[in-house]
């Protein structure tokens, strides 16, 4: 059914696009006829950017509305079929191989790695802090973000918004720790890593609470 929906949508869209552009505006034809073929191939013939969007005539007859309407109907049917046929979880899983459990694991790994980094922070020179952030955290951040739409599918937009608010703030805080470490401000780096850990833990808690509910 999903394939049928896609086919109907795109057949309708392409047919509607063709109907929209099928007939020439008189102004465009006039301009075209005023040019030699050689001039048409030159770059200099280009009109100023906005000028050509004005076509000084009433052009409603240039759109074959019956054809256009049928195309739109195809699109609408395609969308309805897609909406009915789509299994949202499958849709998300196509763009990411993660499950909800995997998302939880990513958050556990992120908070665990941040904890580890914080424990050894006093012994690390700034360049090692940035290197550890890149090596130990970047993949988990990316993979959680890739699978984030699963949260919407399973728990709805409000939970998604709450979890992603904490997650994004946590990721941004870790990014700030990277910048601070790169500039040598180790106190700021430590404070940001702690804050990032807390925010990611909060994201994890919200995700777990949603699962319990």
């Amino acid at each position: 059914m999903k394939t049928i929906g896609q086919v109907l949508l795109w057949v309708g869209f392409l047919s509607g696009s063709l109907a929209t552009v099928f007939y020439a505006p008189a102004e465009g034809v006039g301009y075209m006829k005023a040019m030699t073929p050689e001039k048409a191939l030159e770059k200099d013939f280009e009109l100023p950017d906005l000028q050509a969007v004005v076509i000084p005539e009433e052009g409603w007859h240039l759109i074959p509305w019956v054809w256009y309407g049928v195309s739109v109907a195809f699109c609408v049917i395609g969308i309805v079929v897609l909406k009915n046929a789509a299994n949202p979880e499958q849709q998300v899983e196509q763009s990411s191989n993660l499950s909800l459990a995997d998302l939880s694991v990513r958050l556990t790994q992120l908070t665990g790695n941040l904890e580890g980094l914080l424990e050894s922070l006093d012994d690390l020179p700034p360049s090692q802090i940035t290197a550890r952030i890149d090596e130990q955290l970047a993949d988990d951040f990316r993979e959680f973000a890739d699978g984030r739409n699963l949260i919407t599918t399973e728990y709805g937009l409000d939970v998604f918004a709450d979890v992603m608010t904490q997650f994004a703030s946590g990721e941004r805080s870790v990014n700030r720790a990277w910048s601070a470490a790169a500039d040598g401000y180790v106190d700021e780096a430590e404070a940001c890593l702690k804050r990032g850990r807390d925010l990611l833990q909060e994201a994890h808690r919200l995700l777990n609470d949603a699962a319990k509910d």
Binding site: F13, G16, S17, T20, V21, F22, Y23, A24, E27, G28, V29, M32, A34, M35, L41, E46, P48, D49, L50, Q51, V53, V54, E58, G59, L62, I63, Y68, C75, L82, A86, P125, S127, A131, D134, A138, R142, R148, L157, D158, F160, D162, M164, T165, A168, S169, R172, V174, N175, R176, W178, S179, A180, A181, A182, D183, G184, Y185, C192, R195, E202
Partner: protein, 627 residues
Amino acid sequence: MSGDSVEMRQGELIRRGAYPEMTWQAIIVGWILGALIAVSISYAALKLGFSIEGSELAAILGWGVLRGLMRRTSILENNINQTVASAVNGASSGIMFSVPALFILSKKPELSGVADFNVPLMLFACIAGAFIGLAFVIPLRKQMIDFQRLPYPGGIAVATILKSPGAGITKAMYLFGGAIVSGLFFYVVKKKLGYEDVGVGAALGLPPRYSLVFYCSLMTIGVGFLSGKGGFWFGAGGFICYWLLSPVISTFGSPDMQGMVEMPGVMRKFVYKPTGIGMLIGAAMGGIIMAFPLIRSAISSMNRASKSDSASQDEMPIKLLATAVVMGAACLVFLAYKSAPGMSLSTALLMAILGTVWIWIAGVIVAECVGRTNWSPLSGMTLIAVTILIVIAVNMGLGKTETIVSCMVVGAAICLAISQASDMMLDLKSGYLVGAVPRRQQMAQFVGAWLGPCIVIGLMFLLENAGRPPEAADQPVAAVVETSQEGTASSAEQKFDIEKKEYGIGSDALPAAQASALASVIEGLVDGNVPSYRYTAAGGLGFLLAISGLGGIGVMVALGFYMPFNIVLTYTIGCVLRIVCNKTAGNRWAEEFGIPIAAGLIIGEALVDVGFTLPKVIEGLYQTMMM
């Protein structure tokens, strides 16, 4: 040094104390760099007809000034500097593509009064518009950056520059290597050999309708790389036009259309571009409807967070949005009411309400387009704003001059709002990647946004009046212009001729191509000419794509219709390279090394382009002042 104290740890310098971010040094350097960039880019916009994004330049110059000269040591401080500078520069494209149209229109005797607009009111309109745009994107930041995670290729490039001091020598080498290659390519291929495009289609014997011409720009490949597979639908829009619709029309279309598809430039200008604009509007409206639950959740989440936890400390208060909507609409009512004599309160009210709604819609369109592809349809959105306003004013019975002046005053406010909104989203993406606090960055944008209109409007009047002959000083502008409608041009060509002024904006010295185009559009609109039929048909299709549930493709496909196909093709190379890199070398490699190289490609071309523009700007300004 900025830190309170300095010590060594395992041979590396560490600093104790507060990490500098929103400092006076960053703001003042941002103002100065922003003013310099705004003057240069505004002049370039009048002279050459295009604008340049200032964030990358500001980040690099800020790097040199703050780190090199002032010995400052903070990535985030430089981020604030580039945010302030790009906010100042945001006025250059916003104003120079719109307001000069009034000077150009004033060449016509019956419209000579349009140049006598209320300057303080115009300045207020531009500043108010900029602030309204900034306030409107507060919830969009969360939606587009935190939730949707749009790539914002330009933002990634700026963040890569900002982070380069700490990214390690290898990444820095990739960044600068990419910049050198791109800069050299631009210099040799474009400037020395004069190649703008490579016509592969002609070499392969393909008919012109396929428009298989690649834009010679490594920067565009870099942008495509940073967009990755997310940019696929942008390319698809272009391919639908030139590889599907054009061939079908060439077989089944009328003789006129069969002729037109063999001139892809004409086809784009008269058919695909208006279709793309209509589709963009429809897709944006559909996108807003689809995204509304997410925006509502974002606002609710911000409200909940503000009562409970630390994540909210980073955000501007959401109440500011509500206040801005009310204040913005009130400002627009005031601006519209005061902009022209004879303006009724009901007309002003209607213009303000629709203007406010349009700022929101266009802000979403431009923020999403910049977020996904790095290209902004600002000119198209300005056109629609002016169209809406003119339709209202004409139907409410305003005179021609009053219509044009009032629509340009309110239109300038809307244009600035859209311009600042997209610039701010781009800067917020850079900020996200370096860990800046959004609230501080938003404040920095407000701190910079007021200065740009003052500088750019001042420059505009300077250039308009510099070189005015003494004997013309007391004459109306229309009396000292010459027309170029004589001669042997065909009637079709005559319609597109722009009358030339002897001096100032609109003269040969300062052709102001974008504003000239807008001026001719305004003339057409006042006479009731607009391709609303094509906007309507295309808008319906864009709307359907947007509500199809295939996230974000409506705007992307529409942008593919709107943009020149040579750019789409080259951009697609970058997208394909990213997909291949991800598949073969892995996501990690693509992010660790591919992104610095791609960012370098963007930076190199931009800097060399600016390098070529700057002497012309200085020379031109000098000559204009001496005339």
